[in-house]
């Protein structure tokens, strides 16, 4: 890939620096590099939730005038939105990621059931199959106090028609009835025996292991589960279906948007070359190669249905549906802090340390204080 770029662009050398294997460590790496000034990197590969912070800190080059609206049309709309901060573009999406619902299509078909459309239907299907002894657990989700729980909660919140923070008005929606309903739903899955009590301590891998062992009907997770669940030795190989997350009547569910994209460091001495490189790396040809090699989810709409790709990954057209329903976590500069506030109170509510009302009221108040204190950064451009 690098060689192809260098062949097409003589005079530009592209050096890829390999980072640590954990997302938060890469974030630390960039943060330290930017703080020391004069970042050694020209191009930054960013998770969707860092973009506002890095842009707010003034570390990224504004790409708005460099990339035309027409060019952006080819990308999934949500992925482009995830690269924006206060209406300006700072990142071109290179790979998409979104939360989705995995379900055991064999068990549902056996029982003559349709895939659920609402949380209530999902619960009743789970209970039915659990009673019949088809599966030990109904629904698996990630409830440990960490970023993944915030992502999971955004989806449930969307499914109840609620919201977290409105990035334009900075209104906080956590103390509205929808947020309380969302928590009551999640608590209910545990108290009704649909989810194991340990979901409040689980991360992605804990839930995948149980699902892949064939012990659960539904799993909320990311696209990475698909190839593993359908691996040679997987007990649920070929028995898994995927669909967008469910919601309630009148409120279709949402999928939390993840994904990575490329931005340019403000202190770069090679802005033009860097721009060429990110155009190349996000291009159709380059993404196709990434996808076929590593199984990434594309950020360009056309690739979800490209024949070469669907030949290898038959589920990609369905993935497009998921990505199209994706919701962003609030693109505000203080996202990390806002997320921590939510995570703490969400975890306290999920583990019955506080009532949903109490927890969400406190979380909403703290979030409002945070946004109030940070207003200068929000209005500065």
């Amino acid at each position: 890939m690098v060689k192809a770029f260098e062949r097409q662009n003589p005079g530009i050398r592209l050096q890829i620096i390999e980072g640590p294997n954990a997302t938060n460590l890469i974030e630390d790496l960039y943060t330290s590099a930017f703080l020391l000034g004069d970042s050694p990197y020209d191009i930054v590969n960013m998770d969707v939730i860092w973009t506002p912070k890095f842009a707010g800190a003034g570390w990224l080059m504004d790409l708005t005038d460099q990339v035309s609206e027409q060019e952006l049309q080819a990308f999934s709309r949500q992925d482009v939105e995830g690269g924006k901060y206060q209406g300006r573009l700072y990142r071109l999406p290179v790979r998409s990621d979104a939360g989705m619902l995995y379900y055991r299509k064999d068990l549902l078909a056996e029982a003559g059931l349709e895939p659920p459309r609402t949380f209530a239907e999902m619960e009743s299907i789970s209970q039915k199959l659990q009673e019949q002894g088809k599966a030990r657990w109904g629904y698996l989700w990630q409830g440990r106090q960490y970023e993944g729980a915030a992502a999971m909660f955004v989806e449930v919140l969307q499914g109840f028609g609620g919201f977290w923070v409105n990035p334009e008005t900075l209104e906080v929606g956590l103390d509205r009835p929808e947020a309380v309903q969302a928590i009551e739903f999640l608590r209910g899955t545990v108290s009704k025996g649909i989810s194991p009590p340990g979901v409040t301590t689980y991360m992605e891998e804990d839930t995948r292991r149980i699902f892949q062992a064939g012990e659960a009907v539904f799993l909320r997770s990311w696209p990475y589960v698909w190839p593993l669940a359908n691996g040679e030795k997987s007990p649920v190989k070929g028995k898994v279906g995927i669909m967008p997350l469910v919601g309630t009547a009148g409120h279709p569910g949402g999928s939390c948007l993840g994904g990575w994209g490329l931005g340019i460091s403000k202190s770069t001495r090679h802005p033009q070359e860097a721009l060429k490189a990110i155009r190349f790396l996000t291009s159709e040809a380059a993404q196709k190669e990434f996808i076929l090699e590593a199984g990434y989810v594309p950020s360009r709409k056309s690739l979800f249905t490209a024949p070469e790709i669907t030949a290898k990954y038959s589920h990609y057209p369905q993935l497009l549906e998921v990505v199209n329903k994706a919701v962003l976590r609030p693109p505000i500069a203080q996202y990390a802090q806002a997320s921590d506030i939510l995570q703490r109170y969400l975890s306290a509510a999920l583990t019955n340390q506080q009532s949903p009302q109490q927890a969400m009221q406190a979380a909403a108040n703290e979030t409002r204080r945070l946004l109030e204190a940070g207003r200068p950064a929000q209005t500065a451009t």
Binding site: E27, D28, T31, K53, G56, A57, G58, R144, Q145, Y146, P196, P197, G198, T200, T201, D206, R209, I210, A333, Q334, A336, Q337, D340, Q343, R344, Y345, S347, A348, A349, L350, T351, Q353, Q354, A373, G374, R375, P376, A377, A380
Partner: protein
Amino acid sequence: MQAASGNTIRAREQRTGFYLVLPAVLLLLLVFAYPILRSLWLSLFSQNLATELKPVFTGLSNYTRLLGDGRFWQTFWVTARFTTISVVLELALGMAIALVLNRAFRGRNLLRTIAIIPWALPTSLIALGWTWIFNDQYGIVNDILLRLGLIQTGVNWLGEPFTANVAVIFADIWKTTPFISILLLAGLQSISPDLYEAYSLEGATPWQSFYRITLPLLMPQIIIAALFRFAQAFGIFDLIQVMTGGGPGGATEVVSLYIYASAMRYLDFGYGSALIVVTFLLLVLAIILCVSLLKARSRKLESLES
């Protein structure tokens, strides 16, 4: 004449001594005093995303914010509780293991080596292992307890504030007790067996000889081990980050996790520095208190002896 030359020799020696110490002093100043003073300085500024990372002098406002910051005080008490419980239990257990390892028996050297292994392994890997061990579904702790009939349904170890704290303290004790027992073992081996022999001839019970000989003579090592562990446990990060991430609901969040989040994730450097300064001062205060208590106690012991 004689006296004068003695003076110059001493003066010369002192000067040599000074030069020899100088590099170490400079190094200490550089790696200890500089960061602490710099944190103190930074803590008087607001430097965060709201100021676009430019330092703005705000005096003591970070400190007034800290006084009302429930999250800080919660993390502080969690850390204090974690540290006290784990260090006390580690000392007791470490002492017991050291006493056993001090006996002559076959395979003692092998056992000593094995005993140190937990301490030598990287903490984050250990923590991952403990996370699995305490998993509510496939964890081995629940499996053992269920088989023994001690519990009827699996305990959600990392999901309840109390059991999560028990789990992280347990993991920490497992990990660092060997460190204490090795330190104490070294101390035990420096105590002459003659003392015990003489004392037992006078009809002392093993318990008496432990209390009157071993404990007082081992006091320096105990204090060193306790101080070491105290400082280390207070700064615990990796074990808790991996096992619970501070959850559930912040019930296991320790000070270092909060400081890390403030500085590296929220980019709130002024406030992060204030957190560091206050934690540092409280820690120094705790150590001074502990040491003076121990000193008073050992003085009492000495006066009893004489």
